[in-house]
C-alpha cells in the first residue's frame, strides 16, 4: 500500500541515520569538502561493509540487496539530510541504474558485484559543456578500433568523475548515442575536478583522446538507457532534497525556540512562526511527492514519468526555499562560514539545477498534461 512503510524500511532509515550521525557529522563533511577526493575511503568501505549501501538496489545475484526505489528514496533522504560526502549517488544510483537499464548481462556480471561491495566507484558521464542530461547532439564520438571502440571528446558535470574507477560514458557512435565503459585509469583520459558551488558533491570534467572503451548494451541504445536511468535518478535526488530540506526546517525550529530577543524566543513571533509553518507545508508536500514517485517507480506505474518530474520540481523548490529561509531565521550567524546553513543552501541550489531544473521538469509534465503525450512503452 502506498505511503505505508514496512518495519524493515523504517529500520533502514533509523540505522542509516545513526550511522551518518556517527560517521558523517558536520565536522567530517567540512573536512571532506575541502579535499579534492571529496570522500573518506574508510567510511565508504564501512558504508558498504556494514550497511551494504552501494549495493542497495543492485540485484542479489550481483551481490547487492536487491531493494527497490522506495528503499532507495529512504536512503537518499538520509544521505541528503547528512550531506554525506561519498560517491553514493554516482555509483549506486546513476551507474548502477544505467548498467541495469542497458540489459547487458556481461557488463552487469563484470561490474555490478564490485560496485555492490564498494570496491568500484562508478559514475555516469552524459553531460557535455552545457550541462544538459541529453543524448541528442553529442560532441563526444565513438569509433571502432579493432575489437572494441575508442572515444574522443569532452564530458563535464560528471559526478565523482575524477575519482571513479569506472566511467560509463555516452558518446555518439555510428548507430547513434551509445553507452561505453571506460576505466578510470585508461590511457588518453584526462580528468579535472571542477570547482563547485556545492563542495560536498564533487564533479569533474573529462577529456577523452582515443580512450579505449567497451560498448555497454547495443549501439544506439543510450537514449533509452539514459531516459530510464534519469527517471529513477530524479526520484532519488528528490528524496535527497527532502532530507536536506527537513534538516533545514529542523535547524530553524530548534533555533527559533532558544534564540531570545525582546525578552522572548523569536519562535513566539508570528513573523518567524509563520515562516516555519510555511516551510513545514513545503517540506512535507515535497516529501509526499518524492514518496509517491518512489512508489510509482516501485510499482512500475505508467505515471512515473509524470510524477517523477512533478517530484523533482516540487522538491527542488521546497529545498531551496527552506535553505534560504533557514539562513534568514538564523540572522547574522546564519550568514557565516562557521554555520552549516550555507552548506545546505549550496547543496539545495546545486541539486535544483542538476538533472533538470524545476521549469524543465514542469515543461515535461506539461507535455503529459496538456498534449497528453504518451507515457513510455
Amino acid at each position: 500500500v502506498i505511503f505505508a512503510f514496512t518495519d524493515e524500511q523504517r529500520e533502514l532509515a533509523a540505522t542509516l541515520r545513526r550511522f551518518l550521525q556517527d560517521k558523517s557529522p558536520s565536522s567530517e563533511v567540512r573536512r571532506l569538502m575541502r579535499t579534492e577526493q571529496g570522500y573518506d575511503p574508510r567510511a565508504w568501505s564501512q558504508l558498504a561493509g556494514q550497511l551494504g549501501l552501494p549495493g542497495l538496489v543492485i540485484p542479489e545475484k550481483y551481490g547487492g540487496s536487491g531493494a527497490g526505489p522506495v528503499e532507495l528514496a529512504i536512503a537518499c533522504e538520509e544521505t541528503g539530510r547528512a550531506l554525506l560526502c561519498a560517491p553514493f549517488f554516482a555509483t549506486a544510483v546513476l551507474a548502477a541504474q544505467a548498467l541495469l537499464a542497458s540489459g547487458d548481462q556481461a557488463a552487469q556480471e563484470e561490474y555490478l558485484p564490485a560496485m555492490a561491495d564498494g570496491g568500484t566507484i562508478a559514475t555516469l558521464a552524459v553531460c557535455e559543456d552545457d550541462g544538459a542530461w541529453a543524448t541528442g547532439g553529442l560532441a563526444a564520438r565513438a569509433r571502432r578500433s579493432g575489437d572494441g571502440y575508442v572515444l574522443d571528446g569532452r564530458k563535464s558535470f560528471v559526478l565523482d568523475g575524477h575519482t571513479a574507477d569506472l566511467l560509463l560514458v555516452v558518446a555518439q557512435a555510428e548507430g547513434g548515442p551509445s553507452l561505453f565503459a571506460v576505466a578510470g585509469s585508461a590511457a588518453g583520459l584526462a580528468r579535472r575536478p571542477l570547482q563547485t558551488l556545492d563542495m560536498t558533491r564533487k564533479q569533474a570534467a573529462l577529456s577523452l583522446d582515443a580512450v579505449p572503451a567497451r560498448l555497454v548494451g547495443a549501439e544506439g541504445s543510450a537514449a533509452d538507457i539514459v531516459a530510464r536511468t534519469l527517471r529513477l535518478a530524479v526520484v532519488a535526488l528528490a528524496a535527497e532534497q527532502v532530507g536536506g530540506a527537513r534538516r533545514c526546517l529542523d535547524m530553524s525550529v530548534e533555533y527559533a525556540k532558544i534564540r531570545m530577543q525582546f525578552g522572548r524566543p523569536i519562535g513566539s513571533f508570528q513573523a518567524i512562526k509563520h515562516m516555519c509553518a510555511d516551510m513545514l507545508l513545503e517540506v512535507e508536500s515535497a516529501r509526499s511527492a518524492a514518496y509517491y514517485a518512489a512508489w510509482a517507480a516501485q510499482d512500475g506505474s505508467d505515471e512515473l514519468p509524470l510524477v517523477a518530474s512533478l517530484a523533482k520540481a516540487c522538491c527542488s523548490e521546497a529545498y531551496f526555499r527552506a535553505a534560504a529561509d533557514n539562513i534568514q531565521i538564523h540572522g547574522g550567524i546564519g550568514f557565516t562560514w562557521e554555520h552549516d546553513a550555507h552548506l545546505y543552501y549550496r547543496r539545495a541550489k546545486s541539486a535544483e539545477l542538476m538533472l533538470g531544473t524545476p521549469a524543465e521538469h514542469r515543461e515535461i509534465a506539461a507535455g503529459y498534461l496538456i498534449e497528453g503525450a504518451a507515457g513510455p512503452a
Binding site: 519562535g267 512533478l310 509534465a365
Partner: protein, 433 residues
C-alpha cells in the same frame, strides 16, 4: 477479528448487494445506511459507525461510490455537530442528535463567529443566562452558513463574564426555530448569499442542551474546529460522492426514490466555482481547454502555471493519503490538518491566477460573457474565502507552528484577564469599552 482492506471491501460490497435498491425512497435508504453503520464507517460502532480506521473507511466509501449510492446529507451536522456530540455530549444528546443528522431530520449551523470575535474566537460576547431549567441567549453571530435551513445551531455563548475569556464559554445545541432567533442573509462579495447574520433576542435553550461542561465550552469548540480543519483541508474528498438533502425543511425532497435522485444528480452535475462552498480545485481540465481555445496552450508561462496548479492538487491529495497511512501506523493526526487547509487556499489562488493569466483581457468579463461561461470571474471572486473561513491562513500557521512544530505560543496578555475587563472587536483609538 481485525478488519483488513479486503474484508472491509467485501463486507461493504455484500451489504450494498443486499440493501441497495434504487426503488427505495431516499428516506428509507438513509435509515438503512445510518442503522448499518455504513453512513459513517469511521464513527464508533456504538454511535452509528463501524469503528473503522479512516483509511479503511475510505475504501468502504469507494465501494458505495462505485454503486453511485447517495450518502447522508452533506453539511455541518455530519461534518461537525455529530462528531462533536459523540466526543463530548451526553448519551441522551447522542441519542437525540447523531442518527437525526444521518437520516436528514436535523440540519445544523455553526454559531461561533461574531462581529467582534473572529480569529480571537474566545473574545465572543453573545451571552447565555440561566433561567430555571433554561438559558436565555442574547447577542449576534455572523458568517453563519446554512442558517436558514438549520434546525439546530452549535452555539458558543458566554456564561461567566467574570472568568478569563477561555473559561467562561459554554457550548449549546440551540433550536433555531423559535421567535428569539432571527436570520438575516448576508450578501458576500461574489454577489451571492452563502451565509447569514443570526440575532438572538431572548432566545431559549434547555439546560439539557449544554454540550460538555458548563463554562467548559472552549474545549468542545476546539474539537469542532479540528473536525472543520480536517473537513476543509486534505481530509475532504473522502466520503460519499453524492449526498442526500437534509434538514426538516427539505424533508419533502426525501420522498423521491433513490434511483430518481441519482438520475437527477447525474443530469445536473455540481458546477465548480459557482458558489462559495464549491471553490477548491486543482482541477486543470477547464484551464487546459480554455488555453487551447484562446491559443495560449503553447505559451511557456501558461504551461508552467498549469503544471504548478496540477502539482499542488496532487501533493494535497498525497499529503492526505500520507496522513491517513501515518494514523493507521499509530502516528498522530490533528493539527496536521492545518496543512491541508493552508494548501486548499493556496490551490484556490493558483487556480484564480492561472485562469487570469490565460484569460487576459477577457478576464474583465463575467457571467455569460466571461471565459468558461463566467467561471473565471466567479472563481476570482470566491477565492478570498478559503483563506479566511474555517480559521484564517494566519491562524492555521499559528496552529502549525505551535502544535506541530512546538514553537512557543504567541504572547496573549488578555488570556488571564476577566472577560468583563477586555477590549474586543473593532474600536477606534482611545475608545473605552
Amino acid at each position: 477479528v481485525e478488519a483488513t482492506a479486503s474484508s472491509v471491501r467485501r463486507e461493504a460490497r455484500e451489504w450494498i448487494e443486499q440493501n441497495f435498491d434504487p426503488q427505495l425512497s431516499l428516506r428509507d435508504w438513509l435509515e438503512r445506511l445510518a442503522d448499518s453503520g455504513w453512513a459513517q464507517p469511521a464513527w464508533p460502532a456504538a454511535w452509528y459507525g463501524r469503528g473503522l480506521p479512516p483509511d479503511l473507511a475510505a475504501l468502504a466509501y469507494e465501494e458505495f461510490n462505485r454503486a453511485d449510492a447517495p450518502g447522508p446529507p452533506a453539511g455541518l451536522g455530519v461534518m461537525l455537530a455529530a462528531p462533536t456530540i459523540i466526543s463530548h455530549g451526553s448519551d441522551e444528546q447522542r441519542r437525540t442528535f447523531v442518527r437525526a443528522v444521518l437520516v436528514g431530520d436535523h440540519a445544523w449551523c455553526q454559531l461561533f463567529s461574531e462581529p467582534g470575535a473572529g480569529s480571537d474566537l474566545a473574545g465572543l460576547q453573545t451571552r447565555a443566562e440561566r433561567d430555571g431549567g433554561e438559558f436565555v441567549v442574547d447577542g449576534q453571530k455572523v458568517w453563519t452558513s446554512g442558517a436558514q435551513l438549520a434546525d439546530y445551531g452549535m452555539l458558543l455563548a458566554r456564561t461567566d463574564p467574570d472568568a478569563p475569556k477561555h473559561r467562561g464559554i459554554t457550548y449549546f445545541a440551540l433550536p433555531m426555530s423559535q421567535p428569539g432567533v432571527e436570520v438575516r442573509p448576508l450578501v458576500q462579495m461574489t454577489g451571492e448569499s452563502g451565509f447569514s447574520e443570526v440575532f438572538f433576542t431572548g432566545a431559549r435553550v434547555p439546560a439539557s442542551a449544554v454540550v460538555g461542561e458548563l463554562n467548559g465550552g472552549w474545549a468542545v469548540a476546539l474539537s469542532t474546529l479540528g473536525f472543520e480543519r480536517t473537513g476543509l483541508g486534505a481530509g475532504s474528498g473522502i466520503g460519499f460522492r453524492l449526498a442526500a438533502p437534509g434538514g426538516s425543511r427539505l424533508h419533502a425532497q426525501q420522498e423521491v426514490s433513490v434511483g430518481e435522485y441519482i438520475a437527477a444528480a447525474k443530469a445536473q452535475p455540481r458546477s465548480f466555482g459557482t458558489n462559495s462552498t464549491a471553490m477548491i480545485g486543482g482541477n486543470i481540465a477547464p484551464l487546459v481547454s480554455l488555453a487551447a481555445e484562446l491559443g495560449r496552450d503553447r505559451d511557456p508561462e501558461v504551461r508552467q502555471e498549469i503544471v504548478r496548479l496540477y502539482a499542488l492538487g496532487c501533493v494535497n491529495t498525497w499529503n492526505g493519503l500520507r496522513a491517513r497511512a501515518a494514523l493507521r501506523a499509530g502516528g498522530r493526526a490533528g493539527a496536521e490538518a492545518s496543512l491541508g487547509k493552508l494548501m486548499s487556499s493556496r490551490i484556490a489562488r493558483q487556480w484564480r491566477d492561472t485562469a487570469s493569466l490565460i484569460a487576459g483581457p477577457r478576464g474583465m468579463l463575467a457571467d455569460d460573457d466571461g471565459p468558461l461561461r463566467g467561471r473565471v470571474a466567479s472563481q476570482l471572486l470566491a477565492t478570498p474565502g478559503p483563506s479566511i473561513y474555517g480559521g484564517s491562513d494566519q491562524i492555521q500557521r499559528n496552529i502549525i507552528g505551535e502544535r506541530v512544530l512546538g514553537l512557543p505560543r504567541e504572547a496573549d496578555p488578555s488570556r488571564a484577564v476577566p472577560f468583563r475587563q477586555l477590549k474586543v472587536g473593532t474600536q477606534a483609538a482611545g475608545e473605552q469599552s
